[in-house]
Symmetry: C2
Subunit: 586 residues, 2 copies
């Protein structure tokens, strides 16, 4: 059986294992090389992925760092630029893959970085080259998309500015990217092993909330014993500082890559004007604090218009779950006050954690900006309803969609479909709906048993698809969690949010078809529903999943295929696992 792939120049010589200074030096001196072309610049990064000891919240643990950093280096580019990331895996025995969150990968579906969907994992010692165009300005992210490596610290930000000569519909003096995160002290193996144990062992709420990679754990906690792993005086875990000049306006690009937590972000005494969400301009609205769900990005404008003689707290707080993690804190520092001068005020504690209607209301206020509205098709060709439930399979705790718990195959779908390896995954289509009539979303189900599958939804190319995310009760009485769903390869229109069970006759009449925001990540609120629409116009295979890392690991996701026959010749660098082991270049 011989498969032939011509492919572009996707061939790399792997140097012998050298983990010494020379290689690191090379990386640091050549980490960004840019060159201009007619189409846009080429921005060339060389990244080395490696375990390192870090103390982001004063507690020392092993993280996966890029070039020694977590968060990793920021990608700063301009609309139309080509990003090339040569990713060297210097982990000892572990593979890796990185997803470029919010980048649609038009024409390059093999660069989406989703292990099991668009590529095989990158082996230790290998260098894999991601190459893609950032075709829209906005605020994006990158992070590991393999196992639970994201929460090990493998993430960073992508900022894409508008083309020269193009102006944005708002002004500001300075631009800052801030990633919010939650942080666990247990490693990802411990967490994943617990999740897949019988009985299920959950790691619990995170120990800290990080703001741009910095948090603060209470090192005098009796849980720690006399081990020497927590040091409150370590400058590496001093709070992140946002220094502002009085009177100036700041664009803060706030994003969240939490493992679990929904967050509320607030700057003491300062209003924020929301102007961008997931790369799309928002009809500006003013808020005191911002609810943000894992995988979302927002730009807010903040004017330094308060008493400049003091500093202020910037705070992130857990919402939608009963908080058991201290407030995450940064210092909003008015120049020339000392950046380390802690405010004497009480940090913001955020809204009531269980005020769902507050969160739904803020979700509903995010609309596309006048003058930048891309109108959605007025009708859809297909409606797929996805009931979100917590389940059990053979006594193992799982999450499921329409009672099917998703598991990733070891042969990536993109290759399997393109090379017609039909036995590498279940060919039966997954269900398009649930038992709408009889299912009580407010009730803990008597029978929580589900099935597991790796089957996928195959979409007609260029068709318009509606997705109804329907939330429900978990396996705990009176409990329904918030799930942030993230779609790869597309932006979708957010047509509506509602509470209770989605009514397929009545609720579509209330869809916002006038100025819906486009996003790539959206929450489905507790006991609520969220309606989305997108056009299946990007040839490839695309994951759509809950962005809570443990939930996706436990089956809360689906996969869409569209126009795979239009995908260009696959680079052989994405192959080598499952049934593509041994696939070669001609």
């Amino acid at each position: 059986m011989g498969f032939l792939f011509a492919a572009v120049q996707w061939r790399f010589i792997n140097p012998p294992r050298l983990s010494f200074g020379l290689f690191v030096l090379f990386i640091f001196t050549s980490s960004v090389l840019t060159s201009s072309t007619v189409e846009g610049r080429i921005r060339h990064y060389k990244w080395e992925v490696k375990y390192e000891f870090k103390s982001p919240d004063c507690y020392k643990k092993l993280v996966i760092a890029i070039n020694g950093r977590t968060p990793g280096p920021s990608i700063i580019a301009q609309e139309g630029d080509t990003i090339i990331v040569e990713l060297k895996n210097s982990l000892l025995t572990e593979n890796v893959a990185i997803h470029w969150h919010g980048i649609r990968q038009i024409g390059t579906p093999w660069s989406d970085g989703t292990e099991g969907v668009t590529q095989c994992p990158i082996l230790p010692g290998d260098t894999f080259t991601y190459k893609f165009v950032v075709d829209r300005p906005g605020t994006y992210l990158y992070h590991a998309h393999y196992g639970m490596q994201r929460e090990a610290g493998l993430y960073g930000s992508i900022r894409v500015s508008v083309k020269d000569g193009v102006s944005e519909p708002f002004t500001y003096d300075y631009d800052r990217s801030i990633i919010l995160n939650d942080w666990y002290h247990k490693n990802t193996y411990e967490q994943a092993t617990g999740l897949s144990s019988k009985p299920f062992v959950w790691v619990g709420e995170p120990q800290s909330l990080l703001i741009q990679g910095r948090g603060r754990f209470n090192c005098s906690s009796p849980i720690l014993g006399s081990t020497n792993v927590c040091n409150s005086t370590n400058p590496k875990c001093s709070p992140y500082v946002i220094t502002v000049v009085p009177g100036k306006t700041y664009r803060l690009r706030i994003s969240s890559l939490t493992s679990l937590s929904a967050l509320n972000f607030e700057i003491e005494g300062h209003n924020m004007t929301v102007v961008e969400a997931d790369g799309h301009y928002v009809e500006p609205f003013v808020i005191k604090n911002l609810n943000i769900y894992s995988g979302e990005t927002y730009s807010v404008l903040v004017k330094a218009d308060q008493d400049p003689s003091r500093n202020y707290w910037a705070a992130s707080n857990v919402i939608s779950r009963k908080p058991a993690t201290p407030t995450g804190l940064a210092i909003f520092n008015y120049y020339p006050n000392h950046p380390r001068r802690s405010p004497t005020s009480i940090p913001p504690t955020g809204p009531l954690w269980n005020d769902t209607s507050y969160r739904v209301a803020q979700s509903l206020s995010i609309k596309a900006r006048q003058g930048y509205i891309l109108p959605p098709p007025v009708k859809s060709d297909r409606v797929i309803t996805l009931l979100n439930t917590q389940n059990e399979i053979d006594g193992y705790r799982r999450w499921a969609v329409n009672n099917v718990s998703f598991n990733l195959p070891h042969t990536p779908y993109l290759i399997a479909l393109k090379e017609k390896l039909r036995h590498s995954f279940d060919q039966t289509p997954p269900p398009e709906n649930y038992d709408y009539k009889n299912y009580d979303i407010y009730k803990k189900q008597d029978n929580a048993n589900a099935t597991s599958s790796n089957s996928i939804y195959r979409l007609k190319f260029n068709s318009t698809v509606d997705i109804i995310l329907q939330n429900a009760n978990t396996m705990v009485v009176n409990n329904s969690e918030t799930h942030p769903w993230h779609l790869h390869g597309h932006d979708f229109w957010v047509l509506g949010y509602g509470m209770g069970k989605f009514d397929p006759i009545e609720d579509p009449k209330k869809y916002n078809l006038a100025n819906p925001i486009m996003k790539n990540t959206v929450p489905v609120h507790s006991y609520g529903w969220t309606a989305l629409r997108f056009i299946a116009d990007n040839p490839g295979v695309w994951a759509f999943h809950c962005h809570i890392e443990a939930h996706f690991y436990m089956g809360m996701g689906v996969v869409f295929e569209e126009g795979v026959e239009k995908v260009g010749r696959l680079p052989s660098s994405i192959m080598g696992c499952g049934e593509t082991k041994g696939f070669n270049r001609p």
Copy 2:
């Protein structure tokens, strides 16, 4: 570039990821299938490798288990049997490889399981089939040979009995396998990251010594804090029990797979008669306690001839390093006393830890048994002297041989040599000696700088090779560590041990050519030397390295090639990494 491989039936269908009960059930019900042939039985094992929480010394940590166990299942076979192990990697993001320690792999060098030398690592979700013949009776081992996974618990024993009708030169009533180990609470990533950090961070002495997978950590240690990870009442960490019937004789197959520690094993009040070492019959000698180095196996005969009204301690103690780990304890239980009845006596504390001459004397007393002597060639064709030193490279702490610190390539040598991928490793031969005249082995070197390389020794097929292991001072004043060296693919004759610097004129005159024992693992004692001889008659590529896992990771090893042109067509299942990515089957 097309490579053609016919290969046997090395093709596996990878099922979709299913981590549920059904698969486990299947494994347990079908873990050993045997069928007879004229040549010997085929013993077929299905193993699943997975992270699990275990408390081998009462402290709960993540281990790599086989079918839920550490040590993994024992392989019990008969001389001439064919072992087939279908190894499914169910780790989440981590690869794996297993070495069959002491099995020479004649005709199957690709089944040696040494990542980077004989195979690519096995990816998550993949099932790799090891197939080899156990061609000699004796006591062998298996363990991970990738990164530092061995110390995560991935190991077990292989016991090969003589053919039907063949009798051994000693008798016993019962046969027991006991693996000794040391145990760390930090995970392998933490250890490896520390070792490759600048400054170097060493994990320190092990927390416990395990006897057949059981030890006992002091759970009331203040180091632990209030975490719930240590439970002294957990029955999983009650001492291992060796139950004996008064008057009967036991063959105890004692082996060591320590990460670091040299051990001394003793059964209170009982003598032991050494009868086997690494699969070869020993001229019997009686000892009170046994020194055993990582990678060694011994059979000792023990008669239950003491007061049967009580139980006795079996104990392992650290030797050759200043002990900082409590004695490892098992119960030598005289039936019908209660197996959990702890002896009231003080457990054996072993010999003085720093009595090198005691250890050298015991090494010297191990000789081949009369009637079973395989005489070595009287002369060798080549002498390779290997000076063992601790070094630095660019400020990183390393171990080296003749001032060259070994690092593994990402393209396995076996494939690279067979397929002539010459640029995948350094083609310059490594040094055959050190500066014998001027080097002071008793002195901490002024300049500890070394170089690193992945070059190998290429041996003339069927030639006789002598290896002189020469120990020296480390980077600490007045310190020389004991290193157990293990050779893959061969047994060697142990021609002699000595203290001080090996004299190439005088010392060979004292070689034991009359009845040297053959082994696969041998210590080089502090400030001493060990002389070995072997015949390079096994086509393949073979690692020879210090069996202390951290030392090999830090460069203490070499690789030999011999007759690679005689190796049969390589199975493509061993390929897929480094420059063999994309190698396919025709």
